[in-house]
């Protein structure tokens, strides 16, 4: 088999409705698809196109559009090519179906996304805590979680004002910009 994504993949994908295919590269395809059709797409890609390896599931929080974007990265060992399937789901309630029945490694990715973003995957074998076993707050990767405010509330900081720094500051050097100022200048 050649090492480019062959035309038969295009023909195969035409079987699904409401699909947008963008070729990024000779060996890379981006597919935007409605959330309902994703299991069908994965089943086709796995069963008839040899995309047997689910490399990762990524989550993106689009807070302004009130949506989560889920990206399924699929790799084919035969054609050495990568397919990224992008779907959007509603941010509230943030529930989607698990693809554990198709790809077993999905259990870990889904558990991780549940922990970091609070997305619940129906049918996933384990939705308990994964890495953040000591964490009791809100899912920390959601955009509305302000990590800096949480840190300022939880931890204290050590003051460091040595004499040499004071001297430099008097001459106009030292800490020129505080983090707050640096952030305000961003558009």
């Amino acid at each position: 088999m050649s090492k480019t994504v062959t035309p038969w993949l295009d023909n195969l994908l035409q079987e699904i409705e409401g699909i947008e295919i963008r070729r990024k590269d000779s060996r890379r395809v981006r597919i935007d698809i409605a959330a309902d059709s994703l299991p069908t797409l994965l089943e086709l890609l796995r069963g008839r196109a040899g995309y047997v390896h689910l490399s990762a599931i990524t989550c993106v929080d689009w807070i302004d559009e009130s949506q989560f974007e889920l990206v399924y990265q699929l790799w084919s060992y035969e054609s050495q090519s990568l397919v990224s399937a992008h779907i959007r789901i509603a941010r509230d309630p943030g529930v989607y179906v698990s693809v554990f029945d198709l790809y077993q490694p999905a259990a870990f990715f889904e558990r991780d996304i549940h922990e970091m973003f609070g997305v619940y995957f129906e049918g996933s074998p384990d939705m308990s805590k994964f890495i953040l076993t000591e964490w009791n707050g809100p899912p920390p990767m959601r955009k509305e979680f302000d990590a800096e405010a949480w840190v300022n509330e939880t931890f204290e900081r050590k003051e460091y004002q040595p004499d040499w720094l004071k001297e430099i500051t008097e001459q106009g050097g030292g800490i020129v910009k505080s983090p707050e100022e640096a952030r305000q200048k961003k558009p």
């Binding site: 953040l132 000591e134 979680f145 900081r157």
Partner: protein, 247 residues
């Protein structure tokens, strides 16, 4: 009480009372010298600072000529080396490790992250100041400190051990309530370790006014007895349970 000046420091006075041997101070000097020249180091490699330790330990800088050797278990180690950022999850393990070590024990914090969070200053997952949870004897600042700085820090610690200034482990017993309070702030009220720190403090005659307090009372209320470890073996499809029954 032999000397009225010693009453100012009540804990020191109680130690001084038991010293009847006129050569006690000479022996102390000798013991501290020997201690400072043979240190076993447990490096808990939490972050990137650990990468500077192999050059510090191997032939170029050769830490062993100062009598410092790496050690594999906490119970035989003298120095606990925290090399880099401490996440809250790691901090639990660090405290468990520290409490297993035999006294006298010394903690060295390497890298900026142990001082004030370093580049993880706004991270929700890392503890910011290590010395709020463990008594740190020495910080080696830098991001990361070079092996020369690590060796310089070790020399400094040796000097402090010889002069008797490196007594962070005593501080942990004397102000255990404060340390425990900070730990409970992060880990919740049901935080407990297998070590009986208050019992050890009274064993070493180091129990002071700060050893027990509201936080240790909370610990005693929430304390659960340690359960025997359960071991499971999967043999030929049927699950056999060895050890304590789990029903």
């Amino acid at each position: 009480m032999k000397n009225m000046k010693e009453i100012d420091i009540p804990i020191e006075a109680s130690v001084e009372q038991s010293r009847t041997n006129p050569l006690a101070r000479v022996f102390d000097e000798l013991v501290r010298f020997c201690r400072s020249r043979s240190m076993f180091m447990l490096h808990y490699c939490t972050g990137c600072g650990a990468i500077e330790l192999p050059p510090a330990m191997t032939s170029r800088f050769d830490m062993e000529r100062l009598g410092i050797q790496p050690m594999v278990t906490p119970r035989q180690a003298d120095i606990l080396l925290i090399t880099g950022y401490v996440s809250i999850k790691t901090l639990k393990r660090v405290i468990l490790t520290y409490e297993q070590m035999g006294s006298p024990k010394y903690v060295i914090g390497i890298c900026s992250c142990t001082v004030n969070g370093g580049m993880y200053w706004q991270s929700y997952a890392t503890a910011k100041q290590l010395d709020q949870y463990l008594p740190v004897d020495l910080y080696i600042a830098g991001c990361m400190p070079r092996p020369e700085a690590v060796l310089e820090g070790m020399r400094k610690l040796m000097d402090r051990i010889r002069s008797g200034e490196a007594d962070g482990w005593k501080d942990y017993y004397r102000r255990y309530d404060w340390y425990l309070g900070n730990q409970q702030h992060l880990f919740g009220d049901d935080w407990q370790t297998p070590a009986d720190v208050i019992g050890e403090a009274s064993h070493y005659d180091l129990a002071g006014s700060g050893t027990e307090g509201e936080h240790t009372h909370l610990l005693q209320q929430c304390q659960k007895p340690l359960e025997p470890q359960q071991t499971f073996f999967q043999i030929g499809g049927s699950l056999e349970v060895k050890g304590e029954s789990h029903e």
